[in-house]
Symmetry: C2
Subunit: 221 residues, 2 copies
């Protein structure tokens, strides 16, 4: 008989089809799978529904995932990944310089790449079918295109952003693959190949399977 895992992550019990496999607990499952750490799931109310007071106490923005381990309750997937990375050098190198470089890519993914893609997602979400949609999109698209061009240039023909896979790649790949602006990502053959390399990893594949299984269990019977 195995003991219950020490680590708990929250996930939603339901999201629309288009979001399945893309909710942010996936990147935490992926990281834990990379180092073979078991975890238990706690399913919280559907995305978009009113958030319980308990969940808001754990996650001020009412999102997933929340990560619990012993006395630690942690939110923000970037911070959760960093915490997990400190457990195992396969995610975050122990060498001081290599470790700092990996964290630079984590922050780059979350603050220099994702926001410009996300702005376009918000414009699509709120503007679809309205007169302002097309000009807003045309005016904001160059910011995202510029960041992806810069990212493509620095990646070049390398396999990963530094000389080995790190949490910087895990986060960057998860952001690129889940963006609603796939045409912008796939405008760069090396970024497409980079996403394919990352998502071919067994730890990623089993993370997707686990997230989809949670929705199955959450489905009204």
């Amino acid at each position: 008989m195995t003991e219950a895992p020490d680590i708990e992550i929250t996930a939603y019990d339901w999201v629309p089809d288009m979001a399945r496999g893309k909710v942010k607990d996936l990147r935490v499952r992926w990281a834990l799978n990379e180092i073979g750490l078991p975890y238990r799931e706690r399913l919280v109310g559907n995305a978009g529904s009113e958030k319980s007071t308990d969940h808001l106490a754990d996650q001020p923005f009412g999102q997933v995932p929340v990560y619990k381990e012993g006395g630690l309750t942690l939110f923000e997937s970037g911070a959760i990944l960093l915490h997990i990375g400190e457990k195992d050098e396969r995610l975050l190198p122990r060498d001081r310089v290599a470790r700092a470089r990996a964290t630079a890519w984590m922050f780059a993914a979350l603050n220099s790449v994702e926001p410009f893609l996300q702005a376009l997602f918000l414009v699509d979400l709120r503007g679809s079918g309205q007169a302002w949609h097309s000009p807003a999109k045309e005016n904001l698209r160059p910011f995202a295109e510029n960041r992806l061009r810069q990212l493509s240039a620095v990646l070049g023909e390398r396999e990963w952003l530094e000389d080995r896979f790190t949490l910087g790649d895990l986060l960057m790949i998860d952001i690129l693959r889940t963006s609603s602006q796939q045409d912008l990502v796939h405008a760069h053959a090396n970024l497409s190949a980079y996403v394919e390399r990352g998502t071919a990893r067994p730890a990623f594949q089993s993370a997707v399977t686990a997230q989809l299984a949670a929705f199955e269990r959450g489905e009204p019977k």
Copy 2:
């Protein structure tokens, strides 16, 4: 005679008046000042001008700051702050739980708050005077308002986001104070007071003075 500091940060030699005191090297100066660590400056080409190949090799997105120390070249202000925080518990608590919580607020500032404010900045920047500006702004504003309302709720009447000042506060305050959407921030009295508390710190004040002094030296004579 004192030795030259080991730490080098880059800053711009010129930016428009509206950006002075707000460029992102400020948060790194602020953190170094908090723990009394000296640094030297390297001024790079004006913001908006063509970036040199050397600078792009250090900073793939052509921005400031770049941080150098020994064999380490680091970009992304979040990663730089994290690296500095590991030097001194006044910035980042040594306790495992408290440290992880502080990093959660760093990521929250950069990924859960700033992007929604920045989307409005981009809409203003590109849309001002155009027909799409007002409807785009009205449709995207609620996302930023929601995050600020959630932030205000979790801060409540406390002095800092956790029980003491950390890099999470430094980064959140710098993002709130430099946002172009000051009306949204100041809609919450406790967020206004929080920004005032942070920017009253001597380490912040001397960081502003140092950034402005660099523009003076960079000014065409």
